[in-house]
C-alpha cells in the first residue's frame, strides 16, 4: 500500500511540475477548500472590520482632508492627461506609430496569502466568473504587483514579482536600458546578467518594457537599491526593491489581456547573443511556468 500511495504522490508531483496537467483536479478540489478557507478567515476579517468600525472619526476626517488635498494637488496633471493622451495619439498617428493600448482591468481584493512557504503568492477574489485568465498582469496604485498564475472558479492566484525566479522584462527610465528583473524570494528583486560597466545607478526606476507581450509598457516595477560592481565577476550584482506594496494587503487591479503583439521574426534571423535575444528567451520561459 505504501509503495502505491508514494508512487501516486510522486507521479502527481512530476505531472504538476513538469506538465501542468492537474489544473482540473485542482479546480475541482478548490470548490471544496475555498469555502473552508473563507470560513477560517472569517474571524480574522471580522476583527479587522470591527477595528475599522471603531476607528475614531477624527482619523477618518484627517484622512479625508488629506485625500482631498492630494486630489487637488494632482488635479492639474490629471486634467491635462486627457488632452495629453489625445495629443499623443494624434502625434503617433501623424508619425504612423502604432497607438498605445489604454490600460483597463478590474479591481480585485487580496483575500489571503497562500500558505506555501516556498513561494510568494496571494489569492484575490476574482476568478473565471470574472473572465480572469492566467498570465494577466496585476498592479496596484504604485506599480506592478505580480501575475495571475492559476485561476479557480471564484478566486485566482497571483504570483508576486518577488517570488523566486519570477521574471519581468523592464527598462530603466533614465536611459532606456532594457533588461529582465528576477525575484529573489526575500522581498527583493535582482537585475541579472548586466555587464559590470552597465549604466545602472542607485535609485534608478525600472518600468515594464512591454517586450514580453503581457505587461503594457511603462508600469513602475522596482527601484535600484544597491549596485555592486566586482571585477572578479563579469556581471554586476544589482539589487532592487519593488515600488508597489507587494507584501501589503489591499486592493489590486487585474489588467485586461494585452492585444497580441506583432509576430516575432524567426529566431535564426536574430543576432546571436544580442541583449534583445536574452529578453526573448526569458520571456519564452514564462508561459511554460504559468500555463
Amino acid at each position: 500500500m505504501l509503495s502505491l500511495y508514494v508512487a501516486i504522490s510522486l507521479s502527481l508531483l512530476v505531472l504538476d511540475t513538469k506538465f501542468h496537467y492537474l489544473d482540473l483536479i485542482r479546480q475541482a478540489l478548490a470548490v471544496v477548500t475555498h469555502p473552508l478557507q473563507q470560513l477560517s478567515h472569517a474571524p480574522a476579517r471580522g476583527f479587522e472590520q470591527a477595528g475599522e468600525y471603531f476607528q475614531s472619526v477624527a482619523t477618518l476626517q484627517d484622512e479625508n482632508q488629506r485625500l482631498k488635498h492630494a486630489k487637488l494637488e494632482n488635479a492639474p496633471m490629471t486634467l491635462r492627461l486627457y488632452q495629453l493622451e489625445a495629443e499623443n495619439a494624434r502625434l503617433r498617428r501623424l508619425l504612423s506609430v502604432k497607438e498605445r493600448q489604454a490600460a483597463g482591468g478590474q479591481v480585485a481584493q487580496i483575500l489571503y496569502t497562500a500558505r506555501d512557504p516556498f513561494t510568494r503568492r496571494v489569492i484575490v477574489d476574482k476568478g473565471q466568473q470574472d473572465k480572469i485568465s492566467s498570465g494577466l498582469p496585476v498592479v496596484d496604485d504604485a506599480g506592478v504587483v505580480g501575475q495571475v498564475t492559476r485561476v479557480y472558479p471564484f478566486v485566482s492566484e497571483v504570483t508576486l514579482i518577488t517570488d523566486k525566479d519570477q521574471a519581468i522584462p523592464v527598462q530603466i527610465v533614465r536611459n532606456g536600458l532594457r533588461s529582465v528583473v528576477f525575484g529573489l524570494g526575500n522581498g527583493q528583486l535582482e537585475l541579472r546578467f548586466m555587464p559590470a560597466n552597465a549604466d545602472v545607478q542607485k535609485d534608478d526606476l525600472l518600468v515594464t518594457s512591454g517586450l514580453d507581450g503581457i505587461f503594457l509598457p511603462g508600469f513602475p516595477v522596482a527601484r535600484v537599491l544597491a549596485v555592486e560592481r566586482d571585477t572578479a565577476y563579469s556581471f554586476a550584482r544589482i539589487i532592487c526593491v519593488p515600488v508597489a506594496g507587494v507584501e501589503n494587503f489591499g486592493e489590486v487591479m487585474v489588467l485586461a489581456a494585452r492585444e497580441a503583439p506583432p509576430p516575432r521574426p524567426a529566431l535564426a534571423e536574430a543576432v546571436e547573443g544580442a541583449p534583445e535575444e536574452k529578453v526573448l528567451k526569458s520571456k519564452k520561459k514564462r508561459p511554460a511556468r504559468n500555463p
Binding site: M1, L2, Y5, V6, I8, S9, L10, S11, L12, L13, L15, D16, T17, L22, I25, R26, L29, A30, V32, T33, L36, Q37, L39, S40, H41, A44, Y112, T113, A114, R115, D116, P117, F118, T119, R120, R121, I123, R150, E157, D163, K164, D165, L184, G185, N186
Partner: protein, 173 residues
C-alpha cells in the same frame, strides 16, 4: 481500548464521525492566518498522526492521501507535496502504533517527534528540488511544539471515549 496499553482504564470504542470531525477541524485550523507564524504546528499532520497511532485499523494512508491532496490545493503548493509527506507520516505512525502505546504519554511524545519531522523534511526537500525559496529555520520548529502538545491532544481527542466515573451495577463494563 485503553489510554495507553499499560493503563487499566477501558475506553469506549471510537466513533468514526468524531475522527472525521477532528480531521476537518484540524484542516480549518491549518487554514487560519496563524499558520504563518513560526512554530504553529501543522494541526492536520498532528491529528492524522494521532489517529494513525490510536486507530491504525480505521485511519491510514488513504486518509492521509486524501487530506494531503486537499492541503495541497488549499496551500497552493505543488500537487503531491503534502500528500507524500502525510502518506509517509501515516505509514510511520501505523508501523509504530503497536509499540508506542505501551509507553506513558511523555515518552510517546518523544517517539512521535522524529515521526513528525518527516513532514517538514519531505516538504522541504520537494520545495528545494523544484526551485522554491528557502523558508527559513522557523519552518522546522513546529514538530517540537506539536510533540509538546501530544499529551493534551491525547486527552482532548479521547474525551468522547471516556466512560462515566460512577459505577452502574447493571452495566457489564
Amino acid at each position: 481500548m485503553q489510554t495507553t496499553f499499560s493503563s487499566s482504564r477501558i475506553l469506549l470504542p471510537v466513533r468514526p464521525w468524531f475522527i472525521a470531525l477532528s480531521l476537518v477541524v484540524a484542516l480549518l485550523l491549518n487554514m487560519l492566518p496563524t499558520a504563518w507564524w513560526p512554530g504553529v504546528p501543522d494541526w492536520l499532520a498532528l491529528v492524522l498522526c494521532f489517529w494513525c497511532v490510536r486507530e491504525f485499523r480505521k485511519v491510514g494512508m488513504g486518509w492521509a492521501f486524501l487530506f494531503g491532496l486537499i492541503m495541497d490545493v488549499a496551500d497552493a503548493s505543488l500537487m503531491g507535496q503534502h500528500t507524500l509527506a502525510y502518506v509517509l507520516l501515516a505509514y510511520g505512525a501505523g508501523a509504530l502504533s503497536r509499540r508506542v502505546l505501551w509507553f506513558p504519554l511523555l515518552q510517546q511524545a518523544l517517539q512521535i517527534l522524529p515521526l513528525l519531522y518527516i513532514v517538514p523534511l519531505v516538504q522541504f526537500s520537494i520545495g528545494m528540488a523544484t526551485g522554491g525559496q528557502f523558508p527559513g529555520f522557523g519552518y522546522f520548529i513546529w514538530p517540537l511544539v506539536a510533540a509538546l502538545l501530544w499529551a493534551p491532544l491525547t486527552f482532548m481527542l479521547l474525551l468522547p471515549q471516556h466512560q462515566p466515573v460512577e459505577r452502574d451495577a447493571n452495566r457489564p463494563i
